[in-house]
């Protein structure tokens, strides 16, 4: 390739990539925008817009069950995401840095976790958690949040492990070795070198875990206990009577809160002038 063609290709590609990215983001947000519009629907059915009004938002005050379900989901999502990220990150680092005979077995287990149909997890976890909670007397497992967290964490642990491993594998371990050579305690090496290196993967894993948990329906509907119906289970079960616009209103409020939180983070970071790794660290609270 000649230098000339190189110079021509560069600006074109550089202009096409962001355009493509914008298109894909528009694609991702397209149905969400519809839902925001439809949350102002005053009709009986979410999917059929009749007229504009804010009645659907008022339903949130009349039906405590809506906010209860959302709170169950948010609480579970946060705990499950942190738990899966911690377990998965440690496992992923071990997989990338301490390979041995055990690696194949462990990877096999992770593959099995991610390939097992959700309905099987659901059917099997329910009696198991009852067994742990009732027969073994570990009353912890009678708690709705604990049960949901357990159910939601399985797939996420596998996903975080994969991503963290993929981040570190093949990257030279010489920094870590140098640190160890300088007699830094292992924990310090881990905190100062390995973890920052893995951080984008950790952040991605955390976000994915939270997302999976928030959308988990099948396992949730089996393991939930009285007083802990999560949001997706509520929405699915409400199909029988026809979804109301108030469900879109809940989604809109959640979206606005999320975007507001992200905007605050962006503002703070812009002021601090941080790099992406720093952003990652800030969001992950690490």
């Amino acid at each position: 390739m000649s230098a000339t063609s190189n110079r021509i290709r560069r600006p074109l590609l550089d202009r096409l990539l962001p355009v493509w990215a914008v298109l894909v983001f528009a694609f991702l947000f397209a149905p969400i925008i519809v839902i925001v519009v439809y949350s102002f629907n005053t009709g009986r059915l979410l999917s059929s817009f009749t007229s504009f009004g804010i009645e659907s938002f008022l339903a949130l005050f009349e039906k405590p069950v809506l906010l209860d379900a959302v709170m169950v989901s948010l609480r579970t999502g946060a705990i499950a995401a942190v738990l899966a990220t911690v377990l998965g990150t440690l496992a992923g680092i071990a997989l990338a840095r301490r390979t041995g005979k055990w690696t194949a077995w462990f990877v096999g287990l992770l593959v099995l976790v991610s390939v097992t149909p959700e309905i099987v997890d659901a059917i099997s976890l329910l009696p198991w958690l009852v067994f742990l909670g009732q027969d073994l007397g570990l009353s912890l497992f009678n708690d709705g949040t604990v049960r949901l967290v357990v159910g939601h964490s399985l797939f996420s642990v596998a996903v975080v492990s994969y991503i963290v491993r993929a981040r570190l594998v093949g990257l030279p371990a010489n920094l870590e070795e140098a640190s160890a050579d300088l007699y830094a305690p292992p924990l310090r090496t881990f905190r100062k070198i390995t973890l920052p290196l893995a951080m984008p993967a950790v952040l991605a894993g955390l976000l994915l875990s939270f997302t999976f948990s928030l959308d988990n329906t099948i396992v949730s509907s089996f393991v939930q206990v009285s007083g802990a119906t999560p949001w997706p289970v509520y929405v699915l079960s409400a199909l029988r009577g026809g979804l109301r616009p108030e469900i879109a209103a809940v989604s809109t409020i959640m979206l606005l809160l999320t975007l507001a939180a992200l905007a605050v983070v962006a503002l703070v970071l812009r002021r601090a002038g941080d790099s992406s790794t720093e952003i990652a660290r800030t969001i992950a609270g690490g």
Binding site: A21, I32, L95, R98, L110, V115, S251, T258
Partner: protein
């Protein structure tokens, strides 16, 4: 490393214990059911007589046909996710302003914090015969379009819902390549395409494989995503497993189906992996080269 007295897998122990207690033990029990039978109308499983009969019942033409259809959807969906999500992940990790990257990462996932069924309704409003997209098409003189319940709608639903599972691992993969390495490559006279092909892609390979598997494997077991927009055309084999556990309340047969399904998915993923491995042979050569330079 020499300071660590712990065995190599020490860091994996917490995850291992967690999965042993909450996955291996309970799921192992359910897999055991596959050797049993359904004891009458209102029972779901019994294991006092053991046999492999359930596995014979699984292997029907319907299971095979549905599995093949499932695989096509999963392969096409995975390929589309890679083609659509790849450039986005690359742009985010390499070309976007560094300060924005964490936020962009979060923005990819924010749409999925809206409930699945609610998102689906959003798509239905857009894609319905008299929906937004059709009206927009007619407004600019195109014919009305009706895409719901077609194969295209199957793929749209699948790509939409699985795209983040591709973009995030790819982002992480491209991000780790790092600007200095690419600069060095260009300084050594490689053009951009060559740098991408010989440096960026090989280093991103583990992440690409993870992205592909993270879309393909869960998609093979999924049975809802493809049907919500694609209707009957989105029928997938996971539906048969769920139908045994739920509607038929035959956990023995459901379990045998699940085991069979897991085996064939792993097998098919192995085949896909082997193909990728063969195709990426030139990349691996480059990979060795690059790592040799960096490591030395």
């Amino acid at each position: 490393m020499r300071n660590l007295r712990l065995p190599g897998f020490a860091l994996a122990i917490p995850a291992w214990v967690w999965l042993a207690v909450f996955f291996i033990a309970p799921v192992g029990v359910v897999f055991w059911y596959s050797f049993g039978y359904k004891p009458g109308l209102f029972g779901t499983h019994a294991n006092d007589k053991l046999s492999l009969d359930r596995y014979l019942e699984v292997l029907t033409p319907t299971f095979f046909d549905t599995f093949v259809a499932t695989m096509w959807i999963a392969l096409a969906g995975t390929a589309l996710c890679l083609v659509i999500g790849g450039p986005v992940a690359y742009w985010m990790a390499v070309k976007s302003p560094p300060a924005w990257r964490g936020l962009l990462l979060a923005l990819v996932l924010v749409p999925f914090w809206t409930n699945f069924l609610v998102r689906t309704i959003g798509w239905q409003v857009i894609l319905a015969p008299e929906g937004w997209a059709s009206q927009a098409a007619q407004a600019i003189g195109l014919p009305a379009f009706d895409i719901l319940y077609t194969r295209a709608a199957v793929l749209l639903g699948v790509v939409y819902n699985y795209l983040p599972l591709m973009i995030l691992p790819l982002y992480v993969a491209f991000d780790r390549v790092g600007e200095p390495l690419r600069e060095a490559s260009r300084d050594l006279g490689a053009n951009r395409l060559r740098t991408f092909w010989r440096v960026t892609l090989p280093l991103a390979r583990p992440g690409i494989i993870v992205g592909v598997l993270l879309v393909y494997i869960p998609l093979m077991g999924d049975y809802i995503t493809a049907t919500v927009l694609g209707g009957a055309k989105g029928n997938m084999v996971g539906q048969m497993v769920a139908a045994q556990f739920q509607t038929a309340q035959n956990w023995a047969l459901g379990s045998a189906m699940a085991v069979t399904l897991i085996l064939v998915i792993v097998l098919s993923a192995g085949v896909v992996g082997a193909l990728l491995w063969l195709v990426s042979w030139p990349m691996r050569r480059a990979n060795r080269l690059v790592l040799g330079e960096v490591g030395s």
